[in-house]
Symmetry: C3
């Protein structure tokens, strides 16, 4: 069952209202400038269709919601509805969609949209955080910490319908999710992860098994026959601060970029990776060196998800020049 075709849709999601640090909306622009699209076209021969950036509206009188004061529920709800439609369109039109954030709230929409195109998607969430708080357990009221919960069918009963979110029904079963890189998980989140036995490779287990074994177990667990489309929700703060410092909620003790690229290359090899979110790069945090390092890391992860090989690519049609060809 071949899912990928020859195209990749790119959707810019400069949404930042799932948290409160300015700068994360610059992700789409700066990642394009970092040249990941060029790499996808030149190295791996993709036809990339850049849909440009979505426009988001700040809904007026968007009072916070519930006992945890969830911030801007309507604005987030509307934004994710647009995101879902855009991702669905890209996957239907081209087979795949790369959604560039923006903060991690966008994954509520991207996962929903992906599931409209393929209802049997499996989800790999790579992140220091599980983002599986509900609007009743959130410490911060920031929706970028809840987009995981909004996507999981079994958690519906924990999540009251918030204004702006009536369109969303969760699309992924707890059995079809794997978390990798966790190291900052709130009590309510660990409760739900345990209760629904959601497969997690937190940093303790990544350290114990190594990324190669973790990827083997991950694919064996959620996609043994490699016949289901994969949604990768990649939060750049899964990487250690040493490799990706420019992000809103950094947590020490993270993945190396090598591990991130290994994960991306393994997923590419399945040929079933049809949806990727690259979120939480915030170029305004930290130094210039840190910003460029973080953008570079994100750029390489995206290219490795779609065919950039660490060992080097020989693009189709490459001709090896010989001296005699140029009269030397």
């Amino acid at each position: 069952r071949f899912i990928r075709r020859d195209g990749i849709g790119v959707v810019g999601v400069p949404f930042a209202h799932g948290q409160n640090k300015p700068g994360v909306h610059e992700g789409p622009r700066l990642l394009r400038e970092a040249g990941f699209i060029d790499g996808l076209e030149k190295l791996a021969g993709w036809k990339v269709h850049d849909y440009g950036d979505l426009d988001f509206e700040l809904v007026k009188e968007d009072e916070s919601y519930g006992p945890c004061n969830i911030q801007l529920p309507r604005t987030n709800g509307l934004a994710n509805k647009l995101i879902s439609a855009a991702v669905q369109k890209s996957i239907v039109d081209h087979g795949t969609c790369i959604s560039i954030g923006g903060d991690h709230s966008l994954s509520a929409g991207t996962i929903h949209g992906h599931a409209q195109a393929h209802e049997d998607i499996v989800l790999i969430w790579v992140d220091a955080h599980a983002d599986i708080n509900t609007s009743l357990t959130s410490y911060t009221g920031h929706l970028h910490g809840m987009s995981g919960a909004f996507s999981i069918k079994e958690l519906d009963k924990y999540i009251p319908k918030m204004p702006g979110w009536d369109w969303l029904t969760p699309t992924v079963a707890a059995r079809d999710i794997v978390y990798i890189g966790l190291r900052d998980v709130d009590p309510g989140e660990r409760y739900l992860l345990d209760k629904y036995r959601i497969q997690c490779y937190d940093m303790y287990l990544v350290e114990k098994y190594g990324m190669a074994k973790v990827m083997e177990m991950t694919l064996e667990y959620i996609n043994p026959k490699l016949n289901r489309p994969i949604h990768l929700s990649f939060d750049i703060d899964c990487l250690d601060i040493a490799f990706a410092p420019a992000t809103g909620t950094p947590v020490p003790g993270g993945l190396t970029l090598r591990e991130g690229l290994f994960l991306a290359e393994e997923l590419n090899k399945t040929e079933m990776l049809t949806g990727v979110d690259l979120v939480e790069v915030n170029p305004m945090l930290g130094t210039d060196v840190g910003k460029n390092l973080t953008l570079w890391a994100a750029n390489l992860v995206l290219q490795s998800c779609f065919g950039k090989i660490t060992a080097g690519n020989v693009p189709a049609g490459f001709e090896m020049p010989k001296p005699e060809d140029v009269g030397l």
Copy 2:
């Protein structure tokens, strides 16, 4: 044989005269401010008894000692006598003791004190250095490089009685020690490590086996039945400069914080970790970013030693809020 009860004693040891860089005495204050005690109470449900900081006296006319000009022998001796008593009291009263440095000279006292409460302790020394110089092999004359030697029974004959140290008899046999993280070992130290076949996992072996295997072999070697109390002497400079730059004698090529946290979690799981030293954090060295990163690392190590789980904790008595509970 259950050693741990429900309490943890915390002793601040702002001692800096085992070396010569100002700033390391700030460790106790800044680590408290970093909130490790809060984590121990909230996440793992401990009753923490903070004894506050010990007061140390600079002994007058404390001339240096012997051919290696050991600095401030009496001041160090007196300080460690106080430390020993404080650690012994904490372990007797609450079952465990966390000693926050200050420089690594304090481990002469903490190990001695721990051994008064449990004479069958085993010692895990995690450090870039072995700190097993004697007063006759020391290059620097700094006692923070000798606290290991002072603790080992078989080395007694190499260590002349220094003024201020008559109270100390070494308490740990060479067979009951494991070093992890070594990468800067002087000739006299390697001579003694070889002669008494002290088990060392230097960075070459950590690279070869990985931390999971190293911890398995370590516990198998010194605590196969997990029935002996463990003293962990954790020098923050065991971690690579990339993860803990703010320390007095940094050495490149070190452990990752992930490995440090993995080690701490494994020791916590034995339920036999009753004494922990966290030493050599020097907030005055390097940049603010480096200082905060180092304090964050030390904070996480301490919490992981006593129950913080990388995958997330569900504290006892946690109630998962449901919409119907709050009329939503």
Copy 3:
């Protein structure tokens, strides 16, 4: 067949015209100041013969060459001819040669010179780059990206004779090379690596197997009986930016210094490591902290190649002082 004797020749190669960033010529001076020679003598008991720095001439009217505008071909050719002679002399006189760069173009000369002394050398190239572009595939025209290609017999037919290089015939068969650390390989390079089945452990494979296994497979592949002299061409940019930032063409996702030191220690243990290039340290790039970290890393790699043990050395003739020896 014992190749090493008791001496090490050190040749300073302050050559920087294989690329265009000033500062890399400072490598020899600064690495000597970092004290690696002292370490070799004190720790591992070598007699080190420092030949000082080679002098290089900027050939007049050295127009660039061919369709890829190869820069300063004659200057590079002349320099490498000198380098080859110097390396050959050092290996014949003392058994080994350490060549301190300077940029990676110097390896064309060092490998050639090493092969004049031992024609059955095997080559281990540790680098983020393969440096196996030809003068017809180079994107940059910089000869530091071609010194690998110049050394490989099978690639002769792809490399037109450039002015200044008539003296050079490639000396190493494709079968006798292993690359470690690759992560930035051009299409023409990957084409040649595939075509001649050159053994490469790029960062994907290093992540998958770990450095211990990689070194085992490397030596098993090119030196199973450990009876052939080894040439190590070590480009400091093989290490991740976090561990060696001060270099001309840094690429994220690299080796840790631990892995670099492990590799060096393994090669030392073969007692067949007779030629080492340490190249591309550029102290003028980045911060002072980064410069010192990079020099420290290079210093440790060199010492580990020739007997510095991470677990600590006991130099021959070391006497353990006892209290009674000094009347204490």
